[in-house]
């Protein structure tokens, strides 16, 4: 009997091992699906409601845009087929492509488009500028609409196609008529993927199915522009808050794509023949900043703010984050990132070799009198945690009286809303937002009620002139002027330009190199 029981147990164990032996190969064996772990859980599904990057990513999959940016930064038509501009540049007429449908089967009409634009331009930086320049927007026929301007606005297609969040995503009129400050509960887009509400398990998985009714453009896929041909049946977006677990699951073949593998595991992933690491350049990179509070002494004094340029060495924070040189652009002195259309170092006062000694000399010439400098440190995001810690160390060495306040990101967001509560915090954002002077979080928020509260008359003039410029050459000159003023008033100081590489199983081809992860065009080998 004993022997029988032992035999039975051994058989059970053997069966168990045999069955669990291939644990983790599900994703690799899935015929037409892809499992991805993105930067965070997609919680807010209304792409006009938030500036959160993860909702923008969701938006690009499920919704579509009138125009879209290509890999070179050019704006190309997407839902729009053709458009014309009057001689005085004040009347813009657009015609939609034929065959566009919402996910509920209804045709996309110009009335839907007009309502969507009106919802979006209440909340988006570029949208507000377009709204202020617009006299009227009308639906002329089922597929044609017109924007009549009060004054020339050279960035009209840029505004409608730029990936700066919130993006001008289109939605049916019945949804778009919801006020922008009320979150939509229904998801109906016209993009290449369809949101599967039934299979959405919050905190676990979201499933996006291929939109079989989608009519792609004829041009090849190029960043957010061109043909959005989906070659997989469905995209499974898995929520894994622990980046190490996500990287381990990728190695084990349980998932196919990780948007943000941990920096310190990149060498391990690079050495795995089954995994490819996807790095980014130009607008797809991030730039880190130390945001400064202009309302609170001593940083209300521009002389004292400018001291920071002398000490911030752009190699230090990326190194502290564990990033190797191949993922950084060393010493980029451009507010609009390096490798982007408006790259400029005009007005730079950042020395070739910043140092504590240089900063001490600069500080000695100011009226700094030992006032406390409060640095906010968000401990739940690596880049903000590390950059704020490095800033605190630098400032202490220079001779500032520093208090580093550690908290979570949500607390930073609310604390920074109080002008009396802080002086500096570390933060980072993508080139998609920072590469354009009038969407840049710091140059463009001049005299806007936005944490940091800088306000400069000249900067305001340059920013107002930027969208009115009629040529690219004129815009580049204005970008130079804005850069000069930015160095002068120092709304923020760059701590480095970095890539946040993605990693994926090497069985896929055609992945679009984009910091907004999109899953059209790719196919499993």
């Amino acid at each position: 009997m004993n022997r029988f029981i032992k035999g039975l147990a051994a058989s059970a164990v053997a069966l168990w091992v045999a069955q669990v032996g291939f644990a983790g190969s599900a994703a690799a064996e899935g015929n037409k699906s892809l499992t991805a772990v993105l930067e965070a859980e997609i919680v807010t599904l209304d792409p006009h409601f938030t500036t959160a990057y993860i909702t923008r990513t969701f938006g690009y999959m499920v919704y579509d845009t009138l125009f879209a940016m290509d890999g070179a930064g050019n704006i190309k038509p997407q839902m729009v087929d053709t458009w014309t501009v009057s001689d005085d540049n004040l009347t813009w007429s657009f015609k939609l492509r034929d065959g566009l449908k919402w996910h509920d089967g209804a045709p996309v009409t110009s009335e839907d488009v007009v309502a969507s634009i009106k919802r979006w331009w209440e909340v988006a930086a570029l949208g507000v500028q377009l709204r202020n320049a617009t006299d009227a927007i009308t639906a002329d026929s089922a597929t044609e609409f017109t924007i009549k301007l009060k004054e020339p606005f050279g960035l009209i297609t840029t505004a409608l196609g730029h990936p700066n969040a919130p993006v001008a995503f289109m939605m049916p009129k019945r949804l778009a008529e919801t006020p922008a400050n009320v979150q939509l509960q229904e998801v109906v887009g016209s993009g290449p993927f369809v949101y599967d509400r039934e299979r959405h398990r919050q905190g676990d998985t979201m499933v996006l199915k291929r939109n079989d009714s989608y009519v792609p453009r004829s041009e090849p896929a190029d960043f957010m522009a061109g043909a959005k041909v989906v070659n997989i049946d469905e995209l499974v977006i898995k929520t894994l808050p622990d980046a190490v677990t996500a990287a381990t699951a990728l190695t084990a073949g349980e998932i196919d794509y990780v948007q943000y593998p941990p920096f310190d595991l990149l060498p391990v992933l690079e050495g795995d023949p089954n995994i490819k690491v996807l790095s980014f350049t130009g607008v797809n990179m991030y730039q880190g900043y130390f945001r400064l509070n202009h309302r609170l002494a001593p940083f209300d004094d521009p002389e004292i703010r400018r001291v920071l340029w002398s000490v911030v060495d752009q190699n230090s924070v990326p190194a502290a984050l564990g990033l190797s040189g191949q993922y950084t652009v060393p010493d980029c002195k451009s507010f609009f990132l390096c490798g982007t259309p408006y790259e400029t170092t005009a007005g730079s006062i950042s020395p070739e070799a910043p140092s504590v000694e240089l900063a001490k000399e600069a500080l000695a010439k100011t009226k700094y009198n030992g006032e406390k400098i409060v640095i906010l440190q968000a401990t739940d995001i690596d880049a903000t945690r590390v950059s704020s810690a490095v800033a605190a160390d630098w400032l202490r060495q220079v001779g500032f009286n520093v208090e580093l306040q550690a908290m979570d990101w949500a607390s930073v967001l609310s604390t920074r809303a109080n002008p009396e509560a802080w002086h500096l915090f570390g933060v980072h954002a993508t080139g998609l937002d920072l590469s354009l002077p009038n969407t840049h979080f710091y140059t463009a928020r001049n005299c806007v009620d936005y944490a940091g509260w800088h306000c400069d008359e000249k900067m305001g003039e340059y920013l107002a002139a930027f969208p009115r410029a009629t040529s690219e050459e004129e815009r580049k000159q204005l970008a130079d002027r804005i850069s000069e003023r930015a160095y002068e008033i120092t709304p923020a100081v760059m701590w480095g330009q970095i890539a946040q590489p993605a990693a994926y199983r090497s069985g896929f081809e055609g992945i679009i190199p984009s910091s907004i992860p999109v899953f059209w065009n790719l196919e499993r080998k």
């Binding site: 644990a23 807010t44 938030t50 919050q202 622990d242 084990a252 949500a410």
Partner: protein
Amino acid sequence: MYKPIASRLISIVPVLFVVSIVVFSLLYLTPGDPAHVIAGPNATAADVEKIREALGLNDSFLVRYASWLGDIARLDFGNSIMNGTPVVELIAQRIEPTLSLMFLTIILAVVVAVPMGVLAAAKVNTIADRLVMLFAISAFSVPVFIIGYVLARYFALELRWFPVQGYAYLADGVLPWLRHLVLPSVALGLVYIALIARITRAAMLEVLSEDYIRTARAKGLRSKRILFLHALRNASNPIVTVIGVGVALLIGGAVVTESVFGIPGLGRLTIDAILRRDYPVIQGIMLLFSFVYVLVNLLIDICYVVLDPRIRY
């Protein structure tokens, strides 16, 4: 027996009321604002204010608390501030993974820890006893996330016996469900095993020195029978107590374990809700945890009566 049980069940109401006041006050005093989280880092003050107004976050503490309490009285736990999903639905989606994890962990812990503790007590001051104590101290000392990563590294990544992450719902089959829970249960259970093993050992040592055990030995009873039938039963009250108290330990540990192993349970829902300042969700979960804790204590009290008929309420 029924009267005290009914009385304990009724006492849940004031307990939950006090918990609700404490949780609501703490959340009110905690820095952070869901409107900022929803609007995103790049929103202006005006954008944030519109959202605050729409969500009713500008109302006073008392107005918000009274409104929430009124809803609770109608068994309406509210909706998530982040996306409008009913809190009850969110909790319902997450309760199975957490209950499964806790259930398996308790089973594993009791099955492993009690015999270990008995063995250590029976072989006190021998190598076996020392090994059990060494294990207990080690399991107490190593954080659950370290254990989790090590287990995932060897048993999932190297040997491929178990998946690295995720949860398979029971509806999808028992084997996948079990396969996904083995590593998390072991990771979470080690500290629990250590705790129960130590208490079992201590309780058993006390009982083994009693006269009736000596009498049983003198009568020639088999050692196993003495240990497991006579001694263990009489030593069981402190063991049951620590199993119950350990449920709180498990709830705390589940938060970390669920994060490490990517299990979409209540622990992760709690962390996410706190990080997003999703007040209705936090309040809902805290009430649930308090309810469970009171219930577990009630079960322990009932177990005392079953295990020791001398106890009366």
